[in-house]
């Protein structure tokens, strides 16, 4: 059995995989204030749910902003490489990945073997992040899933467009 754990700035993800590359289980949780604590919690939870012990796990790889804080992981790899591996595994002809993360957004370009050719990330501006979309969805009292669809339904042009050139105030 193998485990991959991604501790992002907003959510923690853990995946359990067997040696035949079947996804056995997964958990998604909010990170909260302690990435280390949430990592330990979801690790214990996934083991307990599947009646496994620590010594049943051959390898654990961590990624995400909190990857270095996970002391039970055997290797820490950046989420860029992990996204590439993961997406190529699921959709083997994907050539571009867009990741709207809590802390930043990334566009990753893959070659036909699923290796990363290049990547770009947003600048420091918070408006480029998933967290911003989250906050805006809450402010507009709708679910993040509805957010995009709602925006596309609008038939009016933005009356504040003359201010769009302003320096970011977030």
């Amino acid at each position: 059995m193998f485990i991959g754990i991604d501790i992002g700035s907003t959510t923690a993800k853990i995946v359990l995989m067997d040696s035949s590359k079947n996804i056995i289980d997964k958990i998604i949780a909010n990170v909260g204030y302690s990435s280390k604590q949430v990592a330990t919690n979801i690790y214990r939870e996934i083991l307990a749910k599947n009646n496994l012990k620590e010594n049943n796990i051959k390898n654990i790889v961590s990624c995400g902003y909190g990857r270095e804080s996970i002391d039970f992981a055997k290797k820490a790899v950046s989420e860029i490489i992990c996204h590439a591996k993961g997406v190529h595994f699921l959709i083997n002809d994907a050539s571009t990945i867009i990741d709207i993360g809590g802390q930043d957004s990334k566009v990753i370009v893959l070659n036909s073997s699923g290796n990363v050719v290049n990547f770009v990330m947003n600048d420091k501006c918070a408006a480029g992040t998933g967290r911003f979309l989250d906050v805006m969805a809450k402010a507009l009292m709708c679910d993040i899933e509805e957010f995009g669809t709602l925006a596309l339904q609008s038939k009016k042009t933005c009356k504040y467009k003359q201010y769009m050139y302003c320096v970011c105030r977030i």
């Binding site: 902003y65 790899v77 950046s78 989420e79 490489i81 290796n115 050719v117 290049n118 990330m121």
Partner: protein, 403 residues
């Protein structure tokens, strides 16, 4: 192992002496000219005028980690946070004298060459009003693809006007024999500087771009003086010795990187370590090449006639396609595995076009590129966690490609 380049101590002494001589210039009957980093300094040297560089001073302020504080002061005066931080820290320092060297000596004249940006022109106009001193603007037409005959003729006129300006301010005639001698020394300095940078062709490289950033001070400030040639020859000798003994600048150099844009002065060591952790060495850069890349356009026997063209062809005064061409040449010359582009909030001419350059690099050489958003002196524009994450990911990608 102590990998430090030893010659640097000698350079520090030369720079200290230079700043002291500038500080006490009036006691020796010398005049002071403030000049932009890409400006034609040689006529000043030939006329015995001491050149002082606010941009070099800005780098010192940045490296001393007080750039943000001095920028904030200027912003309080009404300068936008988007104005170049070199301009802001200079404007602040000329008022408050805050600086690791107690500020710059008062200028007798200002020489502004707009081959590096348009900001310098407004910045020098502000300082000319503040100090009530004459300002000469050496105007270099932009070289999109090439310079036509009209531009070349115009540059020759600029040089003539420049000399007339200097003669009027100093009330002295230019000694053309002395000018010739200074011109020759300037060309020689550029050639030795190129030889220094070319030591990085060796694997492992005996120096990094960070070493080049430090050693750049002399070719910027005292180009045309013999001490510069002598120093770079000493440095070159030391580097050749390091090559012979296989002394690397970065232990376990495996991946060779190119840096684009000005350094992030307050994060040099941190950045060097962040790449070194992954066996990455920044062996070359586009910035320090600027002080030797146009040497072929200068005829040392006709220095005054040809220098204008060379100054108009510097990296920041050419079109994006030409810039990309230079970058590709550097990638090939220094066997580069990846390019790190510092998107510098301060330097618009350097940062604008970088995404196109990155695309051209991808198309022509298929090597990964990394963007770091920051500022050369203002650490409020630097986000450590984000930059670290990007560097780690970038180095993983290079390792995956190169194996």
């Amino acid at each position: 192992m102590d990998n430090r380049i030893k010659s640097v101590d000698k350079m520090k002494k030369i720079m200290k002496k230079y700043y002291l001589s500038a500080k006490y210039a009036k006691y020796f009957g010398k005049k002071i000219a403030w000049i932009t980093s890409g400006g034609p300094v040689e006529p000043l040297i030939a006329m015995g005028i001491i050149p002082v560089y606010p941009e070099n001073h800005g780098a010192i302020i940045g490296a001393s980690k007080i750039g943000a504080k001095l920028s904030e002061y200027a912003e309080g005066l009404g300068y936008s946070s988007d104005v170049c931080s070199y301009a802001k820290v200079d404007i602040t320092s000329s008022i408050t004298h805050q600086s690791p060297i107690g500020g710059l000596p008062k200028p007798d004249m200002l020489i502004c060459c707009n081959n590096i940006c348009g900001t310098v022109q407004k910045w020098y106009e502000i300082q000319a009003r503040k100090f009530n001193v004459p300002l000469f603007i050496y105007d270099t037409p932009f070289c999109h693809v090439d310079l036509d005959e009209a531009a070349k003729k115009y540059l020759k006129t600029q040089t003539k006007d420049y000399i007339t300006f200097l003669e009027q301010v100093t009330k002295k005639r230019l000694n053309y024999d002395k000018m010739q001698e200074v011109g020759k020394l300037s060309v020689k300095a550029m050639k030795v500087w190129q030889a220094v940078l070319d030591c990085a062709i060796e694997k492992p490289s005996p120096l990094t771009a960070f070493d080049a950033f430090i050693h750049l001070a002399l070719i910027v400030t005292l180009r045309g003086k013999k001490v510069v040639v002598d120093y770079y020859e000493t440095l070159l000798k030391e580097l050749k010795e390091r090559i012979k003994n296989k002394v690397p600048a970065i232990e376990n150099e495996k991946y060779r990187l190119l840096w684009d844009n000005l350094p992030i002065w307050y994060r040099m060591r941190w950045l060097s370590n962040a790449f070194a952790k992954h066996n990455g060495a920044l062996v070359a850069d586009t910035y320090t090449q600027s002080w030797c890349s146009v040497v072929d356009y200068v005829d040392e026997d006709k220095f005054l006639e040809t220098m204008g063209e060379a100054y108009a062809r510097v990296y920041l005064n050419i079109g994006t396609d030409k810039m990309a061409e230079s970058v590709i040449k550097l990638i090939d010359k220094y066997s580069i595995d990846g390019v790190v582009l510092h998107s510098n909030r301060s330097c618009k001419p350097y940062s604008f076009g970088q995404y196109d350059i990155a695309r051209i690099i991808q198309e022509k050489r298929s090597i990964p590129t990394l963007f770091i958003e920051a500022d050369m002196t203002d650490d409020r524009k630097f986000s450590e966690a984000q930059v670290e994450n990007r560097i780690n990911s970038f180095m993983e990608v290079i390792a995956q490609i190169r194996g």
